[in-house]
Amino acid sequence: MAVVNLNKKQFEKEIGKFDKKMEHRIAMFGTPMEKITDTDIEIDVAPNRPDLLSYQGFKRSFLAFLGRKPGLKQYKLQKPDKKYKVIIDNSVKNIRPHTSCAIVRGLKLNDEKIKEIIEIQEKLHVTVGRKRKKLAIGIYPLDKISLPITFKALEPDKIKFVPLEFPREMSGLEILQKHPTGKDYAHLLAGKEKFPIFIDSDKNILSMPPIINSELTGKITEKTKEVFVECSGFDFEILKKCLNIIVTSLAEMGGTIYQMEIKGGKEKISPNLETEKMKINLENTNKLLGLNLTEKQLEILVKKMGCNYKKGFVEIPSWRTDILHEVDLIEDIAIAYGYENLIPVIPDISTIGQENPKETIKRKISDILTGLRIMEVSNYHLTNKEYQFRKMGIQKKQDSGFVKLEESKTDYDILRKNLTHYLLKNFSENIDSEYPQKIFEIGRVFEIDEKTKELLEYENLAIGITPGNFTEIKQILEYLSKMLDLEIKIEEESKQSNHYIEGRIGKIKLGEKEIGKIGEIHPKILSNWKIKMPVALLEINLEKIFNKLI
């Protein structure tokens, strides 16, 4: 979601008083208010509507939604002047293949408007532009440029210009290494033999997209009346629409849009504000929304969403990026109809409910254990090596079979292999709580199978008691096994354990299959966790028990 700031004064002057009712209308338009200050109204715009990322774009659609200016907004396009030309050189083909450009004249800019232009550019970069990866936009004062303009690629050391906010000329490579913005976006050009540039007929470099503009030609001021706008990138359909979003916003500010000839472009003339026509079926609409609209009503609703309707077709503005299918139009109709006007209804259909049987068994086990006054705890599925291995007496070299996360913003970066270490962590964090403490957890654990290397995921049960000894924990296990009517037995474990006391550890078997371990925790582990009371504990894999009982 992107947050867009609307100037409150401007909003109240051009749209209407901002009160509770207006706030509700804004929410029902799908752009809920995030925050309001004395000067600004902050709204949330979903990624499917980049055309709402500026005040101008929002106003255009919202006035239609309110029914004040319904229907598709038309903008006058001026044919290109003779020199209004951009030449796409073959050299950009494999580097940054597309661009779509326009000229807007007759602008009267002030601080507020310049701020808005910069903001919409940045918002588009971050959202549809995927942080400039997919597309980038440049806006230049026309009076500093000699037309025509060429879009081409050059070796980085041959590119030389003064980048924005920098005191001297730099080469393409230097910009990526030394300029703050250059460093931020260097990864987008890294490894490329040639970098793309826009260059005017006097051989002045205007910009090196998607990184930075030139200080000399890439900065609009209050004096700027005419601008050259370009949008370059990899996805022609999207960048074309982005250009339309920008130029129509500039037109809303009072500018006149001029087309340019794009030599070597996918389309020869840009911008292209031609609407798109998509079929809409009244029956489909009524069926999906559960409504009973007439065609006339449909037309009114379509117009409220800033589109036009003609005999089964919707005319979609050239700046909408989100209409892929008829359902997208139907959603617009629902929004225009008002979600608050849709009456919720539960259909009269018959289906049989069914809980996952594993969940039933987990609940039964929990009931048995809580009946023994054991408290259920719930821990994270994520853990770290310190908890999972180090404190459990496992040396670095012995770590194995765990699932590692590629990147984590928290201290937890592996998936838990068992529940035991978490129960000990719980005890260690509750040394000031009343004793005895008896706890259990039922939960998912993860492991990489040593032989097959497959990632395994299963449900475990762990029970811990403190102060507690082998007899007491065994009593709990036997009671549980009797209540579930299972043949669970304990056998001597000959293998050494990292955390149980030798001679006080047992294998837990269901029939002939081992399903877990039971024992008393070794003092050295208790001391790792700073636990001052003896702990007896068991952990079993529940999957075989599920198989037996389901």
Binding site: L289, L324, D328, I335, P347, S366, H381, E429, L455
Partner: protein
């Protein structure tokens, strides 16, 4: 107070209270203990009970007692350091400082303090590193106020004379000479009611204390007898039972709601392929949610489901399904093989749709489970969260039905007012978010995320685009609301004291 009431009070006296009551002529607690053969705790408790019954008044007094400290006790025996230094000076009237310290066997601190004291009293002078005695025999022999005071300790502070207070102040400045203790004393005062009770006699012959198996054996032991009255309003110590964790109580309740409404539970893994978590849900491969900083990826690849489904999903992304334009980019199979810790339970819905028996429609499914996102933890965010998912596959399903199911769920969760707003998700259209009204904070709280699956989702998975209502509300805010938890970090803190005391979900 009439006789009947006095009898009632007498009947309510416990054996210990009777014992103590009988020995109240002893003024000291210690003596009551000895005479009644009870320990101090029992006596004190009985006294409190007697006070509760208005038989006695307890007057608590705190006294400040001045006593000697560790050093004080030692000095009392050996003399204060200044006294010891004075003794030495008495033998040699002029001594260099170093020698004096050595021969007096005082520590540096003691020595310095002694010099200070003696100088202040003008008994000595210091000159060119030497101590010169400046007093006559009489003056030397005279005990100082501090010395006298030390000998008289312990003493009650309130009873000190001004002179003694002066000595106390000067000794208090020195290390561990003085110790001040607080002594609590209790004075017992028998009330008029108490006198009446005592006069009426407090023998316990006919009162049964506890009902024991022995008493029950013979009718004669209890028939016609009175039982000692209990103060039933008296507080008892708290006990606690075993209990489900409150998050699991809540997820279990969500299960009950959905099964009651005819939904079948889905089950599945938490680690899934990007294919099921994203691609099958028409989330483009360059969508920001698929970046490392938002999602937990696992450096491991898995196998994809059968080729037909993979090809259909690829087609939906690249060219769209029937009537759709798709995202228009080149779909990469490798990217979809990457394992991810599920970011929503919707991946279960996608798998369910892929395996659905189309002859058994309409069908309704739900899931309740943990989901994950790569996020730092604060009061309102966690990297693990609970979601409850639902889908309805029905040829005739529509948006109003979706609102109907959600409204019902919210109602059963205890939220009376619900509103729905337009929203956006890549895999649903129409999409919506639902808010519930928080009466306490007087604001809408967002809980639902829902929509109707796009044809680009349903067609590849079902083979046919039919409406599938889908929702995946985050569950944690509801849990926090129900249990009054303000900080998300408290959900998995497992503070046993807190868990013990937390109420049970009564739904």
């Amino acid at each position: 107070m009439n006789k009947k009431e006095i009898t009632k009070i007498i009947e309510s006296l416990s054996p210990n209270e009777r014992k103590v009551l009988a020995r109240l002529e002893e003024k000291k607690i210690q003596d009551i203990c000895e005479k009644s053969n009870l320990d101090k705790v029992s006596v004190l408790r009985s006294l409190e009970y007697l006070q509760d019954k208005k038989i006695i008044n307890l007057i608590f007094e705190k006294k400040k007692i001045i006593d000697v400290g560790v050093n004080g006790a030692f000095y009392r025996k050996k003399g204060l350091p200044e006294r010891r230094l004075l003794h030495l000076l008495n033998t040699q009237r002029i001594i260099p400082l170093g020698q004096a310290q050595k021969e007096s066997k005082l520590s540096i601190d003691e020595f310095k303090a002694s010099l200070g004291v003696l100088k202040k009293k003008a008994l000595i002078e210091l000159n060119k590193g030497k101590i010169i005695l400046n007093a006559n025999k009489e003056e030397i022999a005279k005990k100082s106020l501090e010395e006298i005071f030390l000998e008289t300790l312990p003493k009650e502070y309130d009873k000190l004379t001004d002179e003694q207070k002066y000595s106390l102040k000067s000794l208090q400045n020195r290390k561990n000479i003085i110790q001040i203790k607080e002594e609590k004393t209790i004075q017992i005062e028998i009330t008029d009611l108490g006198k009446n009770v005592m006069n009426a006699g407090i023998s316990s012959k006919n009162l049964i204390e506890q009902v024991t198996p022995e008493i029950l054996k013979k009718e004669s032991l209890w028939k016609g007898k009175k039982f000692r009255r209990y103060n039933i309003e008296y507080p008892v110590s708290a006990i606690y039972g075993g209990k489900r964790h409150f998050v699991n109580q809540s997820t279990d309740y969500a299960r009950k709601i959905w099964t009651d409404m005819g939904f079948k539970e889905m089950d599945g893994k938490m680690v899934v392929s990007s294919f099921w978590n994203f691609d099958a849900l028409f989330t483009a491969q360059d969508h920001p949610v698929r970046e490392l900083q938002d999602t937990f990826f696992i450096d491991k690849k898995t196998v994809l489901p059968d080729k037909q489904i993979v090809a259909a999903i690829k087609g939906a992304h690249e060219k769209g399904t029937k009537g759709s334009k798709g995202w228009g980019y080149e779909w990469n199979e490798d990217v979809s093989k990457k394992l991810v810790l599920r970011t929503h339970t919707t991946c279960l819905s996608a798998q369910t749709l892929a395996n659905l028996d189309m002859k058994k429609l309409p069908a309704k499914f739900y899931a309740v489970g943990k989901c994950f996102r790569n996020e730092t933890v604060d009061w309102s965010h966690g990297f693990e969260f609970n979601q409850t998912e639902g889908i309805v596959i029905d040829e005739n399903a529509n948006l109003r039905h979706l609102l109907g199911y959600l409204q019902e769920f919210a109602k059963k969760m205890g939220f009376k007012k619900v509103r729905f707003r337009p929203h956006y998700f890549p895999y649903t259209e129409p999409s919506l978010e639902g808010d519930v009204w928080n009466e306490e904070r007087q604001e809408w709280v967002e809980i639902f995320a829902a929509g109707i699956f796009r044809p680009e989702v349903t067609e590849p998975l079902l083979g046919k685009a039919i409406p599938v209502l889908a929702w995946g509300p985050g569950f944690d805010r509801m849990i926090m609301n129900i249990f009054g938890i303000k900080d998300m970090r408290d959900m998995y803190k497992n503070d046993l004291t807190q868990l013990k005391k937390l109420k049970i979900l009564t739904k």
